[in-house]
């Protein structure tokens, strides 16, 4: 048996990597990918805990999460395409209308 902690630690590392990706990269699509990475790391943690507690609810939760994530990616990419088609760039820093 691999201790649950290892899985959770791995999930933590992947999550941190995802966060760094969101904050550091300027290509909008890579940012989006990093977000997916974060989602996945969370899913991993939940499945690890579900396994430790032998609770099926955890796996079902992850199932739903994956489905919703798929839908979200679809809509998100549609939005991204709309925004960046007009601007002819994929740099998130160009979206700065909120600049005060």
């Amino acid at each position: 048996m691999i201790p649950t902690g290892y899985y959770v630690a791995l999930a933590g590392v992947l999550f941190a990597l995802g966060v760094i990706g969101v904050l550091t990269r300027r290509n909008a699509l890579v940012v989006f990918m990093s977000v997916e990475l974060m989602l996945n790391s969370a899913n991993l943690a939940i499945v690890a805990f579900a396994n430790a507690r032998q609770d099926t609810a955890g796996q079902i939760l992850v199932f739903f999460t994956i489905v919703v994530a798929a839908a979200e990616v679809a809509v998100g990419l549609a939005l991204l395409v709309q925004i960046f088609r007009t601007k002819r760039t994929t740099d998130v820093d160009e979206i700065n209308l909120l600049k005060g």
Binding site: I2, T4, G5, Y6, Y7, V8, L10, A11, G12, V13, L14, A16, L17, G18, V19, I20, G21, L23, R25, R26, N27, A28, L29, V30, M33, S34, E36, L37, N40, N43, L44, V47, A48, F49, A50, N51, A52, R53, Q54, D55, T56, Q59, I60, V62, F63, F64, I66, V67, A69, A70, A71, V73, V75, L77, A78, L79, L80, V81, F84, T90
Partner: protein, 168 residues
């Protein structure tokens, strides 16, 4: 034995993630992400979740990565970003914060009390078990999720409708 498998898979996952971050070409990033997803799927298998293993591969590795690739190609986004960073302190602070976060998680994992262990269940993770739960206890979320997908579908279509007047 399991430990070795876990170690290799974990390593692959991390390498994939790091490579995704560091690669300058967006297509390469997507493919590295695919690698990462596959590694995670294997980890699900190790965690007695064969159903999720399959779902992960089908949806994430199969559909989502494809969507990403399509989007990248549609926008022509594979080229690198220019070096100049608009906010100087963004990168360093982000790295530091990320490391701190990872350290915090590690700390909690190592020093925290472990979750209470459930009993040994031979049929845990089996598809029948999941199917039964899904269609009885969690039927409502199931149906709602279906509607959610429908909504997403309609939304995406609406986002791309062009007015008749505009030159398409």
């Amino acid at each position: 034995m399991e430990l070795v498998l876990f170690a290799i898979t974990a390593l692959v996952a991390i390498v994939g993630a790091v490579a995704m971050l560091l690669s300058s070409n967006a297509i390469h990033s997507a493919l590295f992400l695919l690698l990462n997803f596959c590694a995670i799927a294997v980890l699900y298998l190790l965690l007695n979740a064969p159903f999720l293993f399959a779902i992960q591969l089908i949806i994430y590795a199969g559909a989502i990565i494809v969507l990403f690739l399509f989007a990248v190609m549609l926008l022509g986004a594979e080229r690198a970003e220019d070096e100049r960073d608009t906010i100087a302190w963004q990168r360093p602070v982000a790295l530091v914060m990320g490391l701190i976060l990872a350290a915090q998680v590690a700390y909690v994992v190592l020093t925290g009390t472990p979750a209470p262990a459930g009993g040994q269940d031979a049929a845990f993770g089996a598809p029948e078990r999941i199917a039964r739960e899904l269609f009885t206890t969690y039927l409502l979320p199931f149906e709602v999720t279906a509607m959610l997908i429908l909504a997403a579908l309609v939304g995406v279509v609406v986002l791309h409708i062009r007015e008749k007047r505009q030159v398409s």
